[in-house]
Subunit: 370 residues, 2 copies
Amino acid sequence: MTDSINDLLPEGLADRLPPLAGQAAHIARAMLDRMDSHGYDRVHPPLIEFEKSLAGRMDGVQPRQMFRFVDPRSLRMLALRSDMTVQIGRIAATGLAAAPRPLRLCYAGPVARMTGDQLDPSRENMQLGAELIGRDNVAAAAEMVCLAIEALKAAGASGISVDFTLPDLVDTLAREALPLAGGQIDAVRRELDAKDAGGLRDAGGEAYVPLLYATGPFDEAIEKLAAIDAGGALASRIAGLREIAARAAGKARLTLDPSERHGFEYQSWFGFTLYAEGVRGVLGRGGTYHIHGADEPATGFSLYPEQLAEALAGTAEPRPRLFLPLGHDTDTAARLRETGWRTVAALDESDDPATLGCTHRLDGSAPVAV
Amino acid sequence: MTDSINDLLPEGLADRLPPLAGQAAHIARAMLDRMDSHGYDRVHPPLIEFEKSLAGRMDGVQPRQMFRFVDPRSLRMLALRSDMTVQIGRIAATGLAAAPRPLRLCYAGPVARMTGDQLDPSRENMQLGAELIGRDNVAAAAEMVCLAIEALKAAGASGISVDFTLPDLVDTLAREALPLAGGQIDAVRRELDAKDAGGLRDAGGEAYVPLLYATGPFDEAIEKLAAIDAGGALASRIAGLREIAARAAGKARLTLDPSERHGFEYQSWFGFTLYAEGVRGVLGRGGTYHIHGADEPATGFSLYPEQLAEALAGTAEPRPRLFLPLGHDTDTAARLRETGWRTVAALDESDDPATLGCTHRLDGSAPVAV
């Protein structure tokens, strides 16, 4: 066995071993199967694109996080994707521009970034999601919230909760009901993000303070938000949230944090965050948005199933393994595999069922417990 | 819709769209399911490793093909993997060094290289495979050949053929039966690769010329090879090939090309190449080898399923799609999905079943053809 620097992996990059890797694959399949059953067609963009193309669709700080390198063919800069949503937007605007709308697409694949962060030190993740291109109405938002919950449940998650938000809340209020001077908007947003009532008052956002308290379990929080909305500027949004919540009722715990913006830099009127019991951190996010450069509405969500895999890995039952001795009948073994048995064939006399983790052994034509 | 340079993808990198992307995912699942049923556990190495670690395990020309970039964390060179087999070898020698042998592992994921070649201009491919760590005997080789055939069939391939080779043939013969001067070995290998009888004679490899004719359908070619093997230097290899062929008989067309070395730079005594009807080029390769740096025998194979996906994409039946009108009963829809229906829900009045490619429409509680 070797034991050198070459056996190490770079910080934030890791092997997933059995049974965790199998669990993660199983979870991804279950999620994709739910998306497929709701009519979402699989697309598969490449790992690598021109840096400008990826970065140009991200308009934010994320592009700086991409691994970049020169293309020996084009001599242009390439980047390893750090997000797949922008790729789906590009596909919708190019290769599938002529496909009928609404267009339902799903995807799964690895994404990478140059540095991890405090919440998640990993530099490579599995991203998986569904996008509904051409619609950002309440029905689209409700379909996406329900589909995300269904996908998480199919993958084995329990105690799911969904936190709703209104990403363009401050813009909407400042424009219509609670006017702010141009320079004040950013300060008000910042203090809302910090959930700092004093700071909010100091920034001239006194009227926005009640938003900090319109949070918590959905049914109560939405009433508080409706009470703030004296001018009716949020009426359609509040009605939309109520309709989405009605569709998702009984499927997950629903909460509202109307001024939450973290992770919703690209979303328009609606956003949601997914959590599950026993899983550290956020399992996924979604919402309504406009596809960059194509001015087309869309609704979608992304899931990051690896934390769920880790949470579930400990709970999975070990699967039965059937040892096939030397000289076993291969037709019998094939028939048993067809009925769900997992087999492990002996390759020489030294192969031992117990050492190989087998729970059963083929005796003639029948499995017997080891 | 945009239409700029940023909508283009770099040469050799492409989106896979519906239905091809779905077909490729379906194929990969079917293959991995077969591997799983034979006791192969999933592992999932990272996309990126230290360049030295990946390259050090490849000992060949391939490392030059990897995309490379500096790690801002370690300030060392990183590389995007161009092959996953070396990663599985590293895992076997490190994280799973203490796991019992034989160790059965399978994997799937994207690999990338800086430039394509004439046979395959693509710079990103899906690689998928199984490795049997700790054994390189005839039983291991036969298991791998049969598993590869089974995986291809499960994925929908037909007319499968397997071409056997003996990667260390010249070394073995030159050492024992048909001596060559040190300087001649490379020339003899080169002329065998070129299948050039005249060149072979000129290089002093007259005795090797009959190898060029010991090719073709397995049963005939193996007799020719046995006839050449006057000194018995190949006796154990020939017996091994016959045993593997007996195990695979009736499952695929078997051929022999004993001096074929292309693609078998790392293999030891046995190698095989997989083809299927209607699929351009090689579908996969496998054989016996030693894990770099760990001096452990192993047998494995890799499949590149994308060409198979392309070949099958045209033949797949379009799947039924059930349109769910506005206000449909969501419990009924959920029940139909459970029984295998794929649904597409209306999101507003303008959504039309025919435009959305739906074959059926939910009428009350029953699907009716559109």
